[in-house]
Amino acid sequence: MGLKQNLHKLKEKYAGTKMAPAFNALHTFLYTPNETTHSGSHVRVVDDLKRTMNTVIMALIPCLIFGIFNAGYQHYAAIDNTLRLDPLGNFFTWDNFMLGAWKVLPLVIVSYVVGLGVEFIFAIIKKHEVEEGYLVTGMLVPLIVPIDIPLWMLTVAVIFGVVIGKEVFGGTGMNILNPALTIRAFLFFAYPTWMSGDKVWVEGAQAMAGQPDAISGETILGTLAANGHPVYSLWDMFWGFIPGSVGETSTFLILLGALFLIFTKIGSWRIMLSAVIGAIAMGLIFNGVVNAGWIENGSKFYGLMNETWWHHLIIGGLAFGIVYMATDPVTASQTNKGKWIYGFFIGFISIMIRVFNPAYPEGVMLAILLMNVFAPTIDHYVVQGNVRKRLKRLKVKTA
């Protein structure tokens, strides 16, 4: 208990001074604080906001650890194709873990140091407490970028995402767009060669390009968009032994995280479920188009359109986006009916972008950002609809 008391003493000592937010932040991050959150959109939670954030981080830890293993695994599997035949046999080796940790941990560190640095600076300038919003964002960011992204690009993107995506709107709880996705979208538009294509998803692919032992690390969506046939089995896709952004490949672990979030009532099951329904609906529509023969075999949309509807749920970042980012309480719809609509369109539009934009075949990021923008409008109409319904009931009663 020594550390807790020391931190508490420091907090008391610096109370009211310029650096006070920094000590408070450290104290409440490590130990349960003696007060609960009393403002912002997280006010419904009985805990302090930081506890909420820590719960989400706990749900993300399996994805992070798997991402570290998978980064190394994909690298060695790409060099020696025979390793693919038996994923589990070669999976739990220290080489995989070491290489992955060497590449992934710097991403995590850069994300947190830069992001929290910006938050600290703003807290001191604006004289308020350090806001906790970045704790989850900082963990999401390394999980949704390609493994080889240069650290300086990540730094630029994190500064942009935190300042333009969040602080200009007034900080945590006031932002319109999900900060983690703002950061990814910035990278996506600013440095497209590092964010898409077949050379960025496997460690070392970019450096070895053009050499005799060049390795190809195309994602499944990339292969399908080129009307190719993925070399991975469905079980590979489900467990996550596939190339992709660091932490989003394993549908199994994301499912565990989703159950954990639903059980702790941190994530909204309505959004997750309706997004899955939306994705399935769009997948079925495209399958129907293919079955009806409305699209030719050689069309550039054929490969993705022809993919069986439920396969869309386990490839790409759709599952990760739905579970961890669509459910962000700040940027999602607040009303229950609104959540159904919001989630449904995220799933629906994700698959639509996947199919119709083969150059950038992952649509879930853009779909969530788009629906983030519409979430307040959806809420407005749901609330207005409710008001009208009640007024009508009142009239009937009094008449």
């Binding site: 240069p150 300086w152 690009m153 630029v156 333009i164 200009v168 910035f186 538009f189 600013a190 440095y191 497209p192 060669t193 590092w194």
Partner: protein
Amino acid sequence: MALLSKKDSRLILDPLADNNPITIQVLGICSALAITAQLKASIVMALSVMVVLAVGNVVISLLRNVIPGKIRIIAQLIIVAALVIIVDQVLKAFAYELSKQLSVFIGLIITNCIIMGRFEAFALANKPWRSFLDGIGNAAGYGLILIIVGFFRELLGSGTLLGFKVLGDPIAKTGLYAFGYENNGFMLLSPMALIVIGIIIWVQRSRNKTLIEE
């Protein structure tokens, strides 16, 4: 300023900062987003608007007692359209490449809100000399923002300034590029111009708190 009286010099200086047409009045945003991907285009656009606005203001001011109030908008449109066509033809004759690059946006100066705004708000009620100064001032305020935005967009987006490779050669990997630096493709897209203008507004308002609306 000995050349101008204090009242006249305000006409030029006010629109540069505290009454800037873009950052305070939020006019002329469309062209500011569209043509600022390169510094050269921004400068030419700023000069074109300056010519049109200054001359237009003088002409309107001279005619202010002649134009009937009911048809003044159409009269203003004719004057500004004539001036824009002259500017467009001059650019086509002497800077063809640039005029291709600016394409439709020179023609669209006609619809630039700043121009109609100054005609309506100033030139119709003031004498020619003051109207001229007002035109120069407002166009300079507009041009200043265009040039700031163009500077950052070209420097960060293409790594060049006025076409010179100031950051090194991205293909030969010299200069900054030797350290792994890469151009920011987002800077070349219009949404980033909006964000850059937003940042300028943010900086301006945090320096001068009186500009913040309730």
